[in-house]
């Protein structure tokens, strides 16, 4: 069930009505839990057992850690959680990658290896909820968080359907307190949530799904296209991946909001970032913050020598790449961003922390272009193809003579202006000034216009694969 499907809208409408009609906070939570498991089970009911196991494990382990004063025992329990959670992730997401890579390596050094890969189905959202449960246990280990008051709260924290399959990665310290304090419907800015949902729908269904076939066309046969088409396809994919994922996040935030829960912001106009450090503060914020808090800082963060900072950045970004997918293209994607971040750190150390206006202005297109090029490794089917596309783009070499329609350039320019306008937020909370009746009419018109431009066949979100 995908947010842009009509059946999700019907599902959500039902959940919304029943949720707010239920008299007690506890009943609402039980209902939301059932709805969340039904939502997840709509993909494959067997996945529900996996998420249940993960929840029960971390619920139990976290209580043990909290109850123990002995540091050694606390550490042991933490290891149990880490091994179990990362073990599940390793089996479901990385097993085939490691096996295939090992076989390739052994064959490269002249050894015969004939291990087979397994036909493992990747459970939707496993990377997201594994990181959520890990953060819960680690926070309790670090004494930054009290354990969940009840199993119900813990289960809802892990499975809350608006953010379950593609984030944002919610922190227990932000979400669990919301489960304790009841919220009434009057606390919800319904119009704001509806506006945010429609913006997300427009991004994903109108812009993202329109660009997807053009990008697919290029990547399916990139050797037939000239250099102009190559750059255009790279540009379109950059826009596509942004609108796809940020559109999903907007809809997740809006649906959670309508149910009375706040999720953290996941994007903040990242394509206008002035440098790569700024970019990672604004792109997939919940993942960046997670990696910063639990990997980068654990490794020593930036309070160490420059070579150590670079090492920490490289490890963090390679893990970020691997989080996205099991493949060498993802590793390279992480390496590229590790190198770029290290370069950015070195530059700042040399030039001082304060960014000049000139640096900020010139930094936007440079950062955008670097991100655009790195996305080749995000989208290309394999490493060889990615390298070919990258070399072709950088050397302006045309592999073929086919081109893509230039109509996309003005469309992208208009989208760029919209992106900037959303970033500037000229009139915050403008919808609150509109009378409800006028809002309903205007909203219906805008929703219908979005539907007119959306595709009957719903494309899955890019980030569902992670």
């Amino acid at each position: 069930m995908i947010f842009t499907e009509v059946r999700f809208l019907l599902f959500f409408l039902t959940v919304f009505c029943v949720h707010w009609l239920l008299p007690s906070h506890r009943n609402r939570k039980i209902f939301l839990l059932i709805a969340s498991y039904a939502f997840y089970g709509a993909w494959d009911w067997r996945f529900c057992f996996l998420i249940l196991c993960s929840t029960l494990l971390d619920f139990t382990v976290a209580r043990r850690i909290h109850a123990n004063e002995d540091q050694l025992k606390r550490r042991r329990w933490l290891m149990v959680s880490l091994v179990a959670n990362l073990g599940l992730l390793a089996v479901f997401k990385y097993f085939n990658f490691f096996m295939a890579s090992s076989v390739d390596f052994l064959q490269m050094v002249g050894l015969q290896a004939n291990w087979t890969t397994l036909n493992i189905v990747l459970p939707v959202g496993i990377s997201f909820y594994t990181f959520q449960t890990l953060s819960y246990t680690i926070d309790i280990y670090r004494r930054q968080l009290e354990p969940a008051k009840s199993l119900l709260d813990m289960m809802l924290f892990v499975s809350f359907f608006p953010q379950l399959v593609a984030g944002p990665i919610v922190r227990a310290r932000n979400f669990l307190p919301q489960l304790v304090v009841p919220v009434s419907l009057k606390s919800v800015d319904i119009k704001g949530c509806l506006v945010l949902f429609l913006i997300g729908y427009f991004k994903k269904s109108v812009v993202g799904d329109t660009l997807a076939p053009v990008v697919d066309l290029y990547y399916a046969d990139y050797l037939s296209y000239d250099t102009g088409a190559a750059w255009l396809a790279l540009l379109l994919f950059t826009v596509q991946v942004y609108v796809d994922f940020s559109g999903y996040s907007d809809m997740a935030l809006a649906t959670a909001g309508l149910l009375g829960y706040r999720l953290g912001r996941n994007f903040h106009s990242p394509l206008l970032s002035t440098n790569i450090t700024d970019f990672w503060r604004r792109w997939h914020i919940s993942l960046s913050a997670w990696l910063r808090d639990y990997v980068f800082i654990s490794l020593g963060g930036s309070r160490v020598s420059v070579p150590m900072i670079i090492r920490n950045l490289m490890i963090t970004m390679v893990l970020s790449g691997l989080w996205h997918g099991a493949g060498w293209t993802w590793v390279i994607f992480g390496v590229i961003h590790g190198v770029l971040l290290s370069g950015s750190v070195l530059w700042r150390r040399r030039r001082g922390d304060q960014e000049t206006t000139f640096e900020a202005v010139i930094g936007v297109p440079i950062t955008f272009t670097l991100f655009l090029l790195s996305l080749i490794f995000f989208r290309a089917p394999d490493l060889a193809s990615a390298c070919e596309i990258l070399v072709g783009a950088l050397t302006f070499h045309s592999y073929g003579d086919a081109s893509l329609s230039s109509v996309w350039l003005p469309i992208v320019a208009v989208l760029g202006v919209c992106h900037w306008a959303l970033y500037r937020d000229f009139k915050p909370l403008w919808w609150r000034a509109i009378p409800n009746g006028s809002f309903a009419i205007g909203y219906g018109a805008c929703a219908e216009l979005s539907l007119l431009f959306s595709a009957p066949l719903v494309e899955p979100f890019v980030y569902f694969q992670f």
Partner: protein, 380 residues
């Protein structure tokens, strides 16, 4: 927009005082206003953006329209587009001294509900010389597959009436209640897509319909073939299609007993009256009325095919006198020759040789009807 603004944790109402009484009927009123606004914009959009482009249908309609001399049309699914050669048909009729110029308007996977919609579009072309329309109905029992509910083609025919009829057809099926409810809900989703013109503007602006898995090859659209294309020809000339067809062909060749079993099942289904749907009878009766109202003679067809249901409802309609003309070439007892293994391409379709044979028989039977005076050579 910062998401923290969406929910205030202290329970304070973030909206102006007038909105605090937002309850019951007011919410209903706002919902009605929103839906009304959507419908108004949807209807206005219809003026700017005509119905979504549906590549195979639109292309076929253009081809039909380009030849104003056409006087006979064949309407149906793959058992018509792959089995009825207008060239062979016209030659067969000419042998009997009857001049026709026919065109095969059929398209793969054209279900009966879509046929109704498509038939209206064909009749709206107002071909000046049109005399006969051959209609080969398919099953009225649908499964709710993506092809039936999600492609622009499918969305287009999901009018309110068609969706009601589809739901009735599904209720007639043997599935469990839960399965029926799921299938029906999928068709109503398509109705919502249809009602709110989902994707029409996009298709118009981009010039292509997204998600359509049935495309016609360029030479299939060449006027010379007059809409017909055998599967043998498709396999030899269409690289993209070849893979799929080769699979179907090898499945058939490797399981001949399964084919004989399917023919036997068909024979039994016809005998037992399986698929004698009341809804089906209603639909073919309605189609006949539409064609006759356009001053054209409708002739219903049952084409050979072992794996696509008995279509007994068409026979039932004929038995009751609800339809006037039926040429039944699908009955394995009356036409065992069309179920000979050497004439089959796959489990459900004939090869080129079979197509020529079945078209020749069709021409012969149609000429017999004319000779007997059942049908006027002038049409209606």
């Amino acid at each position: 927009m910062h998401p923290d603004c969406l929910v205030t944790s202290d329970g304070e109402d973030p909206r102006p005082g007038a909105a605090r009484g937002l309850v019951g009927w007011r919410v209903a009123l706002y919902c009605v206003l929103t839906l009304a606004s959507m419908l108004v914009v949807s209807q206005l959009a219809n003026l700017v953006f005509p119905p979504a482009e549906r590549p195979p249908l639109g292309q076929k309609l253009s081809l039909v329209q380009s030849d104003r001399e056409t006087d006979t049309l064949f309407l149906g699914a793959s058992r018509v587009i792959r089995h009825v050669s207008p060239e062979v048909f016209d030659a067969g009729m000419a042998e009997r001294g009857l001049a026709t110029r026919s065109f095969n308007t059929a398209l793969p996977a054209m279900f009966t509900f879509e046929q109704q919609h498509y038939l209206d579009e064909l009749l709206e072309l107002k071909l000046p010389k049109l005399r006969f329309v051959f209609i080969a109905p398919e099953s009225v029992h649908l499964s709710g597959s993506d092809r039936e509910v999600k492609t622009p083609r499918a969305v287009q025919w999901h009018t309110f009436e068609a969706t009601i009829a589809t739901s009735r057809g599904i209720l007639e099926m043997d599935d469990t209640l839960a399965d029926k409810a799921l299938t029906i809900s999928r068709h109503w989703m398509a109705f919502l897509h249809h009602t709110f013109n989902l994707g029409t503007a996009r298709s118009q602006l981009l010039g292509t319909a997204v998600g359509e898995d049935i495309q016609l090859a360029s030479h299939e659209l060449a006027s010379g073939t007059r809409g017909y294309r055998s599967l043998d020809d498709a396999m030899t000339t269409d690289a993209e299609f070849r893979g799929r067809l080769e699979g179907r062909r090898s499945d058939y060749l490797s399981s001949l007993p399964a084919f004989f079993e399917a023919v036997e099942n068909l024979r039994k289904a016809i005998r037992d009256g399986v698929g004698s749907s009341e809804l089906g009878v209603e639909i073919v009766t309605r189609m006949q009325a539409r064609v006759e109202a356009a001053g054209v003679v409708p002739v219903f067809l049952i084409m050979p095919g072992s794996s696509h249901g008995s279509r007994n409802y068409v026979r039932e309609a004929k038995r009751r006198g609800a339809i006037r003309h039926l040429i039944d070439l699908g009955h394995p007892d009356r036409h065992p020759e069309f179920y000979a293994p050497e004439l089959q391409f796959d489990l459900g379709h004939l090869n080129e040789l079979g197509a020529r044979a079945v078209t020749a028989t069709l021409a012969q039977k149609f000429a017999d009807l004319i000779d007997r005076g059942d049908i006027s050579v002038e049409g209606n």
